[in-house]
């Protein structure tokens, strides 16, 4: 896996989160795509077909669960692309019900990880995809 050939899409409406992740991932050499709401994220995903998607859940104009659901319906790429759910909702919260059906690759609680740890997990996921 060559980071320079790897596109990662970040979907989050929190500017601080986006800046932090871009700093860390860009330093590693990844090509970064960003979106600030669910709709924009879905358009970017379907047009650019990134190698990995990291998405928040609670956003305007389509939440992360809707984005994941639509991506999984988008043909062979959508079925296989790793999607990381990055949120401050617990996995067993009522609002997260049903997300498991769309097979997110990883579920991360923002308040318990940091950008460097997320980078390690991304590299791990991408190496498994190869």
């Amino acid at each position: 896996m060559n980071p320079k050939d790897t596109k990662i899409l970040l979907i989050d409406d929190d500017e601080m989160i986006l800046k932090s992740l871009i700093t860390v991932f860009s330093a590693e050499g990844f090509q970064m795509l960003t979106a600030r709401d669910g709709n924009e994220g879905l358009v970017q995903a379907l047009n650019k077909e990134p190698n990995l998607i990291i998405t928040d859940v609670e956003m305007d104009k389509a939440d992360g669960m809707s984005v994941l659901h639509e991506i999984r319906k988008a043909g062979p790429w959508g079925e296989k692309v790793p999607v990381i759910i990055l949120t401050n909702f617990d996995a067993n919260d009522e609002v997260m019900k049903g997300i498991v059906a769309d097979k997110p690759s990883l579920f991360l609680l923002k308040s318990k990880v940091n950008p460097v740890e997320i980078l390690e997990k991304v590299k791990d996921l991408l190496s498994k995809e190869i």
Partner: protein, 290 residues
Amino acid sequence: MNYKSSSQLFSWYYVVIIVIILLVGIFATFYTYKDVSNNTQKTLLKDVASMAVAFNIDDIMNLTGTPLDLTSPVYLSLKNKLETIRATNEEVRFVYFLGYRNDQVFFYLDSEPDTSEDYSPPGQVYDEATDLDIEILKGEKGEGIEFSTDRWGSWLTSLVSIKHEGQVIAVLGMDMSADRYFRNLYTHLAIPIISTIFVLILIFIGLLLRRKEKEYISFKEKLFSLATHDLRSPLTGISWLTETTLMNKEGMRKEDMQNIEQIHEKVKTLLNSVNTLLASTDERKVKDKK
């Protein structure tokens, strides 16, 4: 976000309970019907049989079943007895003696005063006689009870034969108003029916209250979940941004770097405290639920 209640009003468990209660109610109603019905009819039959024994056979044999009886002291004595029986048994409407000749059923006498419009004079033909009346009069049966309708109304009629040397000389009949009988029956049936309905209403109220309680708990959980998210999110943003800013500290003033380090440490501590607090609150919620 759309918060729909996921609770279901009915589970199979409650359906089974309701079906059982309905079946018990139906069985109790049916049993009450049979019990009251049988007891009432048995009592009437027993009463008429007891009364028959009290009459003097010779007196009955002296009746002719014609207008000649009207002046007979025996007729008047028997009539008096029938009137007394009628007066002392409020459930009974008519008491009478029937006879059978020339394939016709007739009245020997009844309990009605001769001024009453329901009075039957001696010898009056009883056209509405039933098969049971005739069977008992012919000696084919000794007693019987049935529902019948005649010109005077609808009745529960109990009959017993009076015999002399094996021959039926008359039949003593006693009529209870069918309305009265059914009123009594329905009064008794009301108990199991109303009890069943009452229990079902209690169950439905219980189910509704339980549903409301579940909806309330679900709403509280969702509210807690939202609050949790909104508390963590800004702290996470500050923690990450300060951490990644410190990754590029070349060219940063030492004082600025130290300030950002302090902010980072403080916000990490705060975030850990929030996570611990929320985790312990969650544990207490689980314990409360248990």
